[in-house]
């Protein structure tokens, strides 16, 4: 999956300093698959130990696939979802954006 360089992975960008665990759980998704999202918009809320934090869109585009549903656990660095960047933001790879 990850060889598709036209897609952008949604991950927890900054793991909190004050937790020991390398696992988290997705608490709430605020958008569904196929939703149009804007860069830095909050996509979901995750909980790591007792710390809740929002995960923001790394790019403007379409949320094409959610890999970790609500209540699903994930490892540090794991991809939670994929965004296909909007065409004007990814003009350099314009042919592959519909995939």
């Amino acid at each position: 999956m990850s060889e598709h360089t036209d897609r952008v992975a949604v991950t927890v960008a900054e793991w909190p300093d004050d937790v020991e665990s390398d696992e988290g759980v997705v608490v709430n998704w605020f958008v569904g698959e196929d939703a149009d999202v804007e860069e830095s918009e909050s996509l979901c809320e995750v909980q790591i130990e007792k710390v809740s934090l929002d995960v923001y869109a790394p790019a403007t585009g379409t949320l094409t696939e959610i890999l970790c549903a609500e209540d699903a656990e994930f490892e540090r660095g794991e991809t939670l979802a994929w965004i296909s960047p909007a065409e004007d933001e990814a003009a350099q790879s314009s042919e592959q954006n519909d995939e």
């Binding site: 759980v25 608490v27 709430n28 998704w29 605020f30 958008v31 569904g32 939703a35 149009d36 999202v37 804007e38 918009e41 809320e45 909980q47 007792k50 809740s52 209540d71």
Partner: protein, 337 residues
């Protein structure tokens, strides 16, 4: 932006906060105070992020004296501010009952109309998470009983935002009771349903307008708060047995939308009232009596589903036994058929 607004979903807590933040940006007289509402963001996320945007002058942590800070809120409201004061658990009302029952609710009348009390009292309500008898009540009936207070209870994020806008703009005291289980907190997962699309712009839901959450022909289920979702689940399961249930979400207890309830009962003939408060002297009795007043002839069968008159147990199986479940609602509906 319109496309985002239609697909974005919010938890109930975030919808509440977005309404409060909007009103605080528009009106410098609006401020929030309560226990753990500033640095902690509310123990049920009711004020998450507000202190970061508005600072400590407008989002205030207060000492543990409900009498002091609810009294301060009443006074601030009377001189023209628009305070929102949070009672961390509605169960704690007893230590400030004079401020709520005798000052907040009555000062407009006691002053001969010389002052109004445009404040919102927010309070977390409800059980289902084993917090025992002093932290699990809804007490809907206790507050809907006293004249002078408006009482609203959101069931979804959409309702939470629209009712909060209306509550802050109202010139009278409003009690805004939010159910902990609906807020969308990580450690207390909400059922399916309260997380809904929420417009980014402001909008109001008028008080005294119930919402028919599901239409049906055979029975009217009247409920509020968490039990809207249990009633909808019951209605879905009853539909598989060819029983068509209408679900009415009260949204506001005071004023009460008797018209919508009566209209529904005149169609179905059967009334089931579901409440997470105690059975006696409460919402179920009031709704049944209101329908009997208006349309006695339309009532064929009546069922009340509520907490039996016992303090809510700490034990999980015992708490599950006394709080109305989806199965309890299904069983009550079947008795009417």
């Amino acid at each position: 932006m319109a496309a985002e607004a239609s697909t974005r979903e919010l938890t109930m807590s975030r919808a509440m906060v977005s309404a409060i933040a909007h009103e605080m940006r528009e009106n410098s007289e609006v401020f929030y105070m309560g226990e753990d509402v500033a640095d902690y963001g509310g123990i049920f996320d009711s004020t998450e992020g507000l202190r970061e945007e508005f600072g400590y002058d407008r989002v205030m942590d207060v000492p543990i004296s409900e009498t002091a800070y609810l009294g301060a809120a009443v006074g601030a409201a009377q001189v023209g501010m628009r305070p929102i004061a949070e009672l961390m658990f509605v169960d704690f009302f007893g230590v400030a009952m004079d401020q709520i029952y005798n000052q907040m609710a009555k000062n407009t009348y006691m002053s001969g109309g010389n002052v109004s009390v445009p404040m919102v009292l927010t309070a977390a309500v409800g059980g289902t998470y084993n917090d025992a008898a002093q932290h699990s009540q809804t007490l809907y009936g206790t507050f809907a009983h006293i004249p002078g207070l408006k009482v609203v209870v959101p069931s979804t994020a959409y309702e939470a935002k629209g009712l909060m806008h209306n509550a802050i703009r109202d010139d009278d005291p409003v009690l805004y009771m939010f159910h902990k289980r609906l807020m969308g907190i990580g450690w207390m997962p909400a059922p399916e349903g309260p997380k809904t699309p929420v417009p980014e712009t402001d909008y109001t839901i008028p008080f005294g307008r119930a919402d028919v959450k599901r239409e049906g022909d055979d029975v009217t289920i009247v409920t509020l708060g968490l039990h809207v979702h249990r009633a909808l689940e019951a209605a879905a399961s009853l539909a598989e047995e060819d029983v068509s249930a209408e679900v009415v979400d009260l949204r506001s207890l005071v004023p009460l939308d008797t018209d919508t309830i009566v209209e529904s009962v005149e169609k179905t003939g059967n009334l089931v009232v579901v409440d997470e408060d105690y059975r006696s002297f409460g919402v179920t009795g009031e709704i049944v009596a209101s329908v009997a007043d208006e349309a006695l002839g339309a009532l064929q069968n009546v069922e009340r589903v509520a907490i039996p008159d016992v303090p809510i147990p700490y034990s999980r199986p015992l708490e599950n036994e006394v709080i109305p479940s989806t199965e309890d609602i299904v069983t009550a509906v079947k008795r009417t058929q």
